[in-house]
Amino acid sequence: MTTFILFLVVMGIILIAAALYAVIQKDLLYAVLATGVVSLVLSVFFYLLQAPDVAITEAAIGIALTTIIFIITIRNTTRDEDIYSEDLINRFKNKEDA
């Protein structure tokens, strides 16, 4: 019984820490991977709460598929949160060359 409570408390702390990191971090690739960690810990949470169907669904959809569609979007837009448009990218590139 006490191991069950300990498990839930530790998982809850990891969940909140990963979610905070996903929102605060400026490099979007790391934020997307933190969202994948939130889904992973959530899947274990669902298993501990005696819901195996929901755990399999969250693991299959939240970890692999959501992360890959976010990464494809980042590839087609910008990677950094502060360098958000094409002329900013060009300005930084020209500054590095010059």
Partner: protein
């Protein structure tokens, strides 16, 4: 500055309201009641799933049979999302000529290539197992479909020239969606209401039990897997604009 104060105030009020209102339902309290004399909906489903439908997985029985119409709505929403995604990312100048999309710049190492070739049929087998046994063990159509789509994703990432036949996938997806609706209509014509189950449902924990439930889940499994593979195929083949 004013916006920041507003947002923090809103978040505090929302957090306190949510926690206080859900605190009135204490964690772990028995709200289902006795199953011999069902007084709640959950007790009714838990009693009738092994008796009337002879299905071992009661969540499957709820999703496919007791609330089957909501599953039809969900399948429609998935179909709309996949079609909308393909039509938003469509570009007219993509029609001219055939050129290899710039998917990855460096080829994968030989460990990854050999491992992916071995793992791909095993992942497909696992996905098919999950949705065929949806009424006996935890699993079902949506879970098995997602696992199969993840297997296809592994092959898309590892090999540059791996592609699926777009026409075959689209036809498979539409035909399985149509088969789901036709099963419901069969229930309507023969037994009186849409998606009604057959009266002969077999024995508990057999492979063929539960009437129409495993059949419907097989159709949903094929539909979801081909749909998610199409979504990934569309996203992976976004060609950069010709300058």
């Amino acid at each position: 500055m004013l916006k920041k104060i507003f947002v923090w105030f809103l978040l505090a009020v929302l957090g306190i309201a949510l926690y206080a209102s859900f605190g009135r339902a204490p964690f772990g309290e028995n709200r289902v009641g006795p199953t011999d004399n069902p007084a709640t909906v959950s007790a009714f489903y838990l009693k009738n799933s092994p008796e009337k439908l002879q299905t071992a997985n009661s969540v499957t029985a709820i999703v496919v049979n007791f609330r089957g119409f909501d599953t039809l709505g969900e399948v429609t929403v998935l179909f709309l999302a996949a079609t909308g995604l393909a039509s938003i990312l469509y570009r007219k100048e993509d029609e001219e000529g055939e050129h290899l999309p710039v998917r990855i710049n460096l080829p994968a190492s030989s460990i990854v290539r050999t491992g992916a070739k071995i793992l791909f049929p095993l992942i497909l087998l696992l996905g098919i197992y999950i949705f065929v046994h949806g009424h006996l063990t935890p699993g079902g159509g949506f879970q098995g479909g997602s696992v199969i789509a993840t297997g296809f994703l592994l092959m898309f990432i590892t090999y540059r020239r791996f592609g699926t036949n777009h026409k075959v996938m689209v036809w498979l997806e539409s035909l399985s969606g149509l088969a789901f609706v036709l099963t419901g209509l069969y229930g309507l014509i023969k037994y009186g209401s849409f998606l009604q189950n057959t009266p002969d449902v077999g024995h508990l924990n057999d492979l063929v039990s539960g009437g129409l439930i495993p059949l419907i889940y097989i159709f949903i499994g094929i539909k979801v897997s081909t749909e998610l593979t199409n979504v990934l195929d569309t996203l992976m083949n976004i060609k950069p604009k010709k300058r």
